[in-house]
Symmetry: C2
Subunit: 359 residues, 2 copies
């Protein structure tokens, strides 16, 4: 018995399958069904995934099988899983982000959104976010910082700001630092900074989305997003629902930190997000007594990581005890160093942040 199912009919059935997470698109449109081969009652379908370990893999396989089963009885379906090529991944992830993206308030105009990430905690993401924001502000740019670390927020303390944000007709107003950097952090909303935010993932994600969509950020040249450690809800939400221009990775010389940072880089690469470059923090310490250069965390691994991901090291920062003191005092904005100016120049170049005529 020949069942006379054509390749075209199979493709047509695949077009009926909406992606469970990208509900406005079907599997064919998303490039997930590159080939269909029909031989009598045997059908071979290639299912292309952005990564072979996507959590909804089985769900997709079941949907494909069910759609084919609906065409005729007795069909044998074989599904070959494959990973999308790089170009196809970009198309897929752009469709995904278009679906997930939350819109900012009307009237908000943000030219560049840069996330600062490391995967690893305690390597200085927040310090580097604050220093980059401060240096760009000093050069006349309009800058904001969205503190996406909901359970361990550092930004308010570093800038010495404690006000409660106020709502207005245009949305909730961010808090301005002394030099006019616009800040938003969960700690502004807590009666006591020592109060924990014991939330599971969905609430964390929603808070981050609201910091993007309900804050009257106004007109910004650059918004920095300070990510928490890890590659779970907060990072995923920022990468999926904010229009990121790219990610600045922060690492320390330790290979243990490097390993976790490479996890973060792999996550960003897997979601087709550009790496602006890597900042190695706490590279060394100059002894304040004798001037000796002390390698606190062993030899550097940043070059290896940068090469592996086709990006560059933006700079190597020493551990400067002054930074920690200024953070505790809420005075991070006044810190300047030649090394950091160089890093800022490279970020401006890599992220193509244009000089503004009217500052």
């Amino acid at each position: 018995m020949t069942l006379h199912i054509s390749q075209k009919e199979v493709f047509q059935a695949m077009r009926q399958i909406k992606h469970p997470e990208i509900k406005s698109r079907n599997l064919v449109e998303l490039g997930m069904i590159p080939t269909v081969i029909v031989q009598g009652d045997r059908i071979n379908i290639t299912l292309a995934l952005p990564s072979l370990d996507v959590p909804i893999k089985q769900e997709l396989i079941d949907m494909v099988k069910q759609a084919v089963a609906g065409l005729a009885e007795g069909l044998q379906v074989e599904i070959d899983l494959t990973e999308m090529g790089e170009a196809q991944k970009v198309v897929f992830h752009n469709a995904f982000r278009a679906e997930m993206q939350v819109m900012p308030k009307s009237g908000v105009r943000i030219r560049h959104v840069l996330a600062v990430m490391s995967g690893k905690g305690g390597v200085g993401k927040s310090s580097i976010t604050a220093l980059l924001a401060s240096e760009l502000r000093r050069r006349g740019f309009k800058v904001g910082v969205l503190d996406a670390d909901i359970t361990g927020p550092s930004i308010p303390k570093m800038f010495g700001t404690h006000q409660q944000p106020e709502g207005g007709s245009e949305g909730i107003q961010p808090i301005a630092s002394r030099n006019g950097i616009k800040l938003m952090s969960i700690n502004f909303l807590l009666p006591d900074e020592n109060q924990p935010v014991v939330w599971r993932g969905p609430l964390i994600s929603r808070a981050i989305q609201q910091f993007w969509s309900e804050i009257a950020w106004g007109n910004l040249d650059v918004l920095f997003v300070d990510l928490p450690p890890g590659t779970s809800d907060a990072s995923l939400t920022v990468m999926q629902s904010l229009p990121l221009d790219g990610i600045i990775l922060v690492t320390s010389p330790q290979d243990l930190a490097g390993m976790v940072v490479r996890k973060a880089a792999n996550m960003a690469a897997g979601l087709s997000i550009k790496l602006i470059g890597i900042v190695e923090n706490m590279s060394y310490l100059l002894c304040p007594e004798c001037g000796a250069k002390i390698n606190l965390f062993g030899a550097s691994h940043a070059g290896y990581t940068a090469e592996r991901f086709g990006t560059s090291v933006l700079g190597y920062l020493p551990l400067d005890p002054l930074i920690s003191t200024l953070c505790d005092e809420g005075n991070i904005e006044i810190y300047q160093s030649e090394i950091f100016k160089g890093i800022t120049n490279l970020v401006i170049g890599q992220a193509q942040i244009e000089e503004r005529e009217e500052k």
Copy 2:
């Protein structure tokens, strides 16, 4: 019109309400309804919560209102929210944990479960977990380490272990370190340690529960749980579903770190979990050239935090570059120091880890 609803009837209705998260108990049993006052058709109910910002607050209020509405028409219900007293919180959280707890494999016997936490990343939780485990092992105790940091696991690299765990009739076997510490970490399950684990909260929680319930830990004196930064899914799952004896907090001198650590301490206190004490890491550095004592991260705030939470500082550890080198080499087990022996003594005392006759 008098409706003749008695206080007893209202309490009876409250007994019909199962707690949404502690399904085997009703609100009265859990001490959540301390008072009911009936005056004609007006009913005042006090609803006692373990914390005034529990996420299911509204759900509980609605359940109480609905239950009263079921008694008679036209009743006016007023609900006063209050926070439970400390003793009641302990009862409540014990019931909660009894409900949430996942059981270990049969044949597993673990005398003490101690979590190492900081809230903040990069202050040395994993190093201190590894050093405590190594020191206790050196003294003859049977020790395990459950790496609850799913997105940034450090334990395998520190111990230089890379095997794939194997299943057996008794469950999945943990990986033994050179000195016989039993280890379990997500990185043992990944083909490449640089591969990210891009999971949202529920999967993170499930992995941690499985590391507890499906691993053939055998007979252990102490299992250390190395927590990730933050007070979200991983920490919550460990605190709610593992029978913790207590928490060792790790901090650094920086007040910025201290603030986040105090969030963690507040979370533990809010869930009625004992604080064993605080270890301050990276307290200072001795210059290898001139011997000068350098305060890398400002003046210590650990004493302030300890006092605030009625616990003690277990010790102040210097930043020793050798630790970072040993971690990268996978040789953390060989590190010893007098300061760390003192910290271990205090942990043994505080957690009441008994000396074993047969080691």
